[in-house]
């Protein structure tokens, strides 16, 4: 079977390929003469003429020549004859295919043995298999790995600590298929010789360089989309091959997938199926992270070097997750290498990134990763684009009477960093204790002093000005977790966590004014903002494998939120001072039921929210039915509640862009949603066709406006929360070529998000409403190179446009312009599209440590995409100017591993 299948990007053309991948039984050879052919040519003919399926590495077989006359030979006999007098061995799989390997290569030998059925009698039947899944190279435990008993639908997933339990295993010689994204799929036969109460299964990461013994089904896989309803999973190790602008980015990689919008180029946030980023629960090692973005949202704040596993539930998620109405991103941090010390460094045009992994004895592992940006041209380009620096740098320097001086030009000092640390202690085989810490922060200092020194030594009154402009925002969080496997069927996870989101801004002018008596009066004018959210959570999750058909999961948790938001005009006058606290007490129970071809998860979640003194009951249900091993039907339903919301300020040029508030009984209602999802999938060895339709109803949505009315010597604010509801409808398509040197996917989403707010009159399309979104991702492996291209097309987002304008003379003689507008979000920006490419060269040093250098170009054909439009009245005309996203931007990055 030639492995370099052509990756046809056109949807319709893929149907013929689908048919080819079905494995037919090999035929008996009636009469065939092979005359001094190399073995690879022989195999090609066997595959072509006799329906053999043979996996082999070309370099193992191409130098062996073969001559033989077959006469009425059975398939296995043919293979035996072919390999006679060679150093090659073979394994026949259950499906009739053959795997050829070089016996002199130890890894291949071990793998082949594991793939060989134990021939003796079984000693156990109907028993419980327990074990743990680990990375072969560094001993890292692997969560959410799929383990399936061959020839059955019976299986399990490893839990977050890598442990798994399979009940009612028929006997101790069955075959298992263990698969995990980013790792080679493993076929393993049990045998009575193995420790079946503590089976350690080691998976091998898909290496950048494919060496010996390549089985086609073990090739690269970046995305996995068909394990659960509406769940996407990506391999953090694999995203390096994708084009990036500065930094590898997990969230931006999700944006390439169906149902996650890529139309907001300025945001790495997850706009999932019509939801907004704050409606996505982001869990990092079990604790909530509120600040998930760097550089005004352009980058996500998660360092891929510190992340082991990421799962995104796009909707219909289980009862064990709550507190958000749209989706869940569950991120598991790396524990660190348990076998040896390792370290690595990555450097790009934007940031440097370093990590160390230090095992201490046999029971402790640790991992620390740190990333910090530096102010390169690329950084400055993005910073200027998204900070509005160019627009604001002169605006604060006011001369007398409100006139403006040009401020002395200053370049804002700005940087971001993030730090991840995790220490894991495994005192016994049953216990795992881990401490995980995360801190990500952005700092910006745009302060400046404008002294007109010959005018009285730096005094002010508008002639000279000292402006403080400091912004600092980020998240500090940590969790301490103790997991214990009390018995093979009972697992308890206890976690306490703390998360603190902070955002402060000090944008003030310091003025020293001498009064009539000559005494200096100090005046501090401007704005001081402070948003501080604290989240103290304690929770216990229980997993109870009742029998092979039921896994009951239940848990309790309590979260105390303490949120402050102050907006002060100067150091003595506070305009907004909001301080809310509230307890959310939660309980849930769900049952993962597996009945032959049908699996389903009924569940219920109960929340008591102290500020509203109300209880919220959220039933949920998801189900999957395997029509055949390839065809699957799926559905999900669920109710969701959200008590903490991020309010995004509409005015991007003023201050921090967002702050968090706690729902109350008054201005900020509890957001609620109901999800209905229906889908189907076809998946075989190489291809996945997946379609999911959804309908999401939302109530209790909030929009916020803080009208800022600057006038000389004073600033006034009108705070307004609008309340409403809405719905999101859509359908997501995915066609994925999973394996092969050329792999990738095409996705298309059709969606509609409409809001209805009493304050705005008639219903309108939400800001994030994108009708059509098409994405194509292709990665081609060529020798040591990974070549990748991504193309995104998104139809234009809605916006409110002017229909005209007028001018009024106010009572004080001033005039003011007013712009009249269309219906809210009544027009659409132009379509968005963009092509990014990347080339990554991978190599290993003599000790096998991975290195790579990557070059990528963002927006290759320099498409001018519109971010927003600005309007003003000039000479009686309403004039519009388009503000655009980034044009062509190249990037270079290096990655170096110690081991």
């Amino acid at each position: 079977m030639k492995k370099n299948l052509l990756f046809l990007l056109l949807l319709g053309a893929s149907s013929t390929l689908l048919a080819q991948t079905t494995i037919k039984p090999a035929k008996v050879i009636q009469r065939e003469y092979f005359n001094y052919l190399s073995l690879d040519k022989v195999f090609e003919r066997l595959e072509k003429d006799y329906d053999f399926t043979i996996d082999y590495a070309l370099e193992d077989v191409k130098n062996t020549n073969f001559s033989y006359l077959f006469n009425d030979a059975a398939p296995e006999t043919v293979i035996q004859v072919c390999l006679k007098n060679t150093s090659l061995g073979y394994v026949k799989r259950d499906n009739g295919s053959f795997v050829i390997f070089d016996k002199s290569k130890q890894a291949a030998q071990k793998k082949a043995e594991e793939q060989t059925r134990y021939t003796g009698a079984s000693k156990k039947s109907n028993f419980t298999l327990k074990g743990i899944i680990k990375d072969k190279n560094n001993g890292e435990t692997l969560p959410f790995v799929s383990i399936v008993i061959n020839g059955t639908t019976q299986g399990a997933n490893s839990n977050v600590d890598g442990y798994f339990t399979l009940q009612n295993v028929a006997n101790d010689t069955v075959g298992l298929t263990i698969s995990y994204i980013g790792y080679k799929t493993k076929n393993l036969y049990l045998s009575p010789k193995l420790d079946l109460s503590n089976l350690v299964i080691e998976l091998e990461a898909q290496s950048q360089q494919l060496d010996e013994f390549v089985v086609s089904a073990d090739r690269e896989e970046l995305l996995r989309a068909n394990e659960k309803v509406s769940m996407l999973k990506l391999s953090p190790a694999k995203i390096a091959a994708l084009p990036s602008i500065g930094e590898k980015d997990i969230m931006r990689s999700f944006q390439l997938m169906p149902g996650v919008s890529a139309a907001n180029e300025n945001s790495s946030g997850l706009y999932v199926r019509g939801g907004t980023p704050d409606q996505t629960l982001v869990l990092y090692d079990g604790f909530n992270v509120y600040h998930v973005e760097h550089l005004f949202g352009f980058f996500s704040a998660f360092n891929p070097n510190a992340v082991k596993d990421v799962q995104l539930y796009k909707g219909g998620f289980e009862s064990k997750f709550g507190g958000r109405i749209s989706s869940v991103a569950e991120i598991t941090g790396k524990e660190g290498n348990s076998k040896q010390f390792n370290a690595g460094v990555d450097a790009g045009l934007l940031a440097a990134n370093a990590f160390v992994e230090v095992p201490v004895g046999d029971k402790i592992t640790s991992m620390f990763a740190f990333r910090r940006s530096y102010q390169t041209t690329l950084y400055q380009k993005i910073f200027n684009k998204y900070s509005g620096t160019n627009s604001t740098s002169t605006a604060q320097a006011q001369g007398p009477g409100g006139g403006r001086f040009n401020a002395t030009a200053t370049t804002p000092k700005s940087f971001f960093y993030d730090l991840n640390g995790r220490v894991t202690y495994k005192p016994t085989q049953k216990d795992v204790i881990s401490l995980s810490i995360y801190n990500g922060t952005d700092n910006m200092d745009n302060s400046r002093t404008n002294n007109f020194s010959n005018f009285g030594g730096g005094g002010n009154r508008g002639f000279g000005l000292s402006v403080t402009d400091k912004t600092n925002w980020g998240n500090l969080g940590g969790s301490l977790k103790w997991s214990r496997r009390f018995s093979p069927s009972f697992y308890v996870n206890t976690l306490v966590s703390y998360s603190n989101y902070y955002s402060t801004r000090d944008r003030t002018n310091n003025i020293s004014v001498p009064d009539a008596s000559g005494t200096n009066r100090e005046i501090k004018n401007g704005t001081l903002e402070d948003n501080n959210l604290k989240d103290y959570t304690g929770k216990m999750d229980f997993e109870w494998k009742l029998n092979s058909k039921n896994q009951i999961e239940f848990g309790v948790s309590a979260t105390q939120n303490d949120i402050k938001y102050t907006y002060a005009q100067n150091d003595t006058t506070t305009i907004i001072d909001r301080h809310t606290t509230g307890l959310t007490a939660t309980g849930y129970v769900q049952d993962k039921v597996k009945l032959g071809k049908l699996s389903f998860v009924p569940g219920i979640r109960f929340d008591y929210f102290e500020p509203t003194s109300k209880s919220y009951i959220a039933p949920r249900f998801s189900a999957m039915y395997d029509l055949t091993p390839q065809y699957k039907l799926k559905m999900a339903y669920g109710k969701y509640n959200q008590f903490v919301k991020r309010v995004v300020r509409e005015d991007i040029l003023q201050g921090s862009r967002d702050f968090w508030v706690l729902a109350d009984n008054d201005k900020v209602p509890v957001s609620q949603s109901t999800h209905y999802i229906l889908g189907a999938a076809y998946e075989n060895k190489n291809w996945l066709f997946d379609v999911e339709g959804y309908h999401k109803e939302m109530t209790g949505l909030s929009e916020y406006s803080l009208r800022i009315n600057p006038s000389p010597r004073s600033v006034s604010y009108n705070e307004k929360f609008a309340q409403g509801g809405g719905y999101a409808n859509g359908i997501d398509f995915l066609v994925q070529k999973k394996y092969g040197n050329l792999n990738g996917w095409i996705s298309y989403s059709l969606a509609e998000v409409k809001y209805d707010f009493a304050d705005y009159g008639k219903a309108f399309y939400a800001n994030q409403d994108v009708r059509h979104e098409f994405k194509a991702v292709a990665i081609y492996k060529w020798h040591k190179w990974d070549l990748a291209a991504t193309w995104i097309f998104a139809s234009g987002r809605p916006y409110t446009a002017p229909t005209g304008g007028y001018q009024l003379t106010l009572l004080d003689g001033n005039t003011k312009d007013y712009i009249t507008v269309t219906d809210k979000n009544g027009l659409r920006l132009p379509n968005y599209h963009r092509l990014d490419i990347a080339a990554t060269y991978n190599w290993k040093n003599s000790e096998g440590a991975a290195r790579n250098i990557s070059f990528s170009i963002f927006n290759l054909y320099n498409r001018t995409n519109t971010w927003y439009k600005e309007f003003e009245i000039q000479s009686g005309e309403v004039v519009q100017t388009s503000v655009n996203y980034l044009g062509l931007t190249p990037n270079l990055s290096l990655s170096w591993r110690f081991k």
């Binding site: 000559g518 009024l808 507008v821």
Partner: protein
């Protein structure tokens, strides 16, 4: 194979039907823009112009609307306003404090209406000083070598127990105005006569460095309505934040509002 074909067909059909058009915008004819301030004790004068359409290449002066029948209703009586130049409509009727007036006219077959109540006159209006002494500042040789000193701000106070809106302003009354700042420095938008916005407080101040001329000034305190205060709302200037402009005109745009003013005198002199 059958299944695959039907899958492809359904998918293709979906693609084909997906390209539907979005809702058309509701199109609106250029609306009437009213600028009507009814001051207690003043006569009536209201300007009515046309909204400037987006992308218009008309001149910077808004186009007046002539030939309207504009009426003002008070206590069941109707007063018809007389058309004058530039879209102004007026009447020699004196506005009374604490009365409610309704404006009405028909434009483009739509009845445009607006209602306002004239607020009571300000009570207890006081100023902390009636004279200010300010040293002249001369920029002719560049920035002066020494920093000028200014007197303390003049504090304005009044009674406002119900936290209604007040607007303060002051106006130089001299025919031959003598500037405090002299020389050739360009201060851009410095020569704005007024600088406050409506407040719900009972005090405000006049910063001496904002005064431009010597001589006699009227210091006005205007009791205004919330519909007037709303005019100061920033309604955005980009597609990220644009919102409809505040107006109390039904089927139209602009403002129709009452106010009542009190005036004190301020004299600004040289040392």
């Amino acid at each position: 194979m059958k299944n695959i074909i039907s899958y492809i067909v359904i998918t293709s059909l979906f693609f084909a039907t997906a390209c539907t058009k979005t809702d058309p915008l509701s199109t609106v004819d250029a609306r009437a823009v009213v600028e009507g301030y009814l001051g207690a004790g003043d006569t009536v004068d209201i300007a009515i112009t046309k909204e400037i359409p987006f992308g218009s290449d008309s001149s910077s002066v808004a186009e007046p609307i002539y030939g309207l029948t504009v009426s003002l209703e008070i206590d069941g009586k109707t007063i018809f306003l007389q058309p004058r130049d530039s879209g102004h409509y007026s009447a020699n009727y004196l506005i009374q404090a604490e009365k409610t007036y309704k404006l009405k006219f028909v434009y483009n077959s739509q009845t445009v209406t607006a209602t306002t109540t004239i607020p009571p006159r300000p009570q207890g209006f006081k100023m902390s000083a009636s004279t200010l002494t300010i040293t002249p500042i001369n920029f002719s040789g560049g920035f002066p070598g020494t920093r000028p000193t200014f007197p303390d701000p003049v504090q304005l106070t009044w009674t406002n127990s119900d936290q209604t809106f007040y607007l303060s302003a002051f106006k130089n009354l001299e025919i031959n105005q003598e500037s405090i700042l002299t020389g050739s420095i360009n201060f851009g938008r410095i020569r704005r006569p007024i600088f406050n916005r409506p407040t719900q407080s009972n005090t405000t101040s006049i910063e001496p460095q904002r005064i431009q001329y010597y001589g006699n000034h009227d210091v006005l305190l205007m009791h205004v309505q919330s519909e007037y205060a709303a005019l100061y709302e920033d309604t955005g200037s980009s597609s990220l934040n644009l919102s409809p402009p505040p107006t109390n005109i039904s089927n139209g745009l602009g403002i129709f509002t009452g106010f009542a003013a009190d005036t004190l005198k301020l004299y600004v002199k040289k040392p």
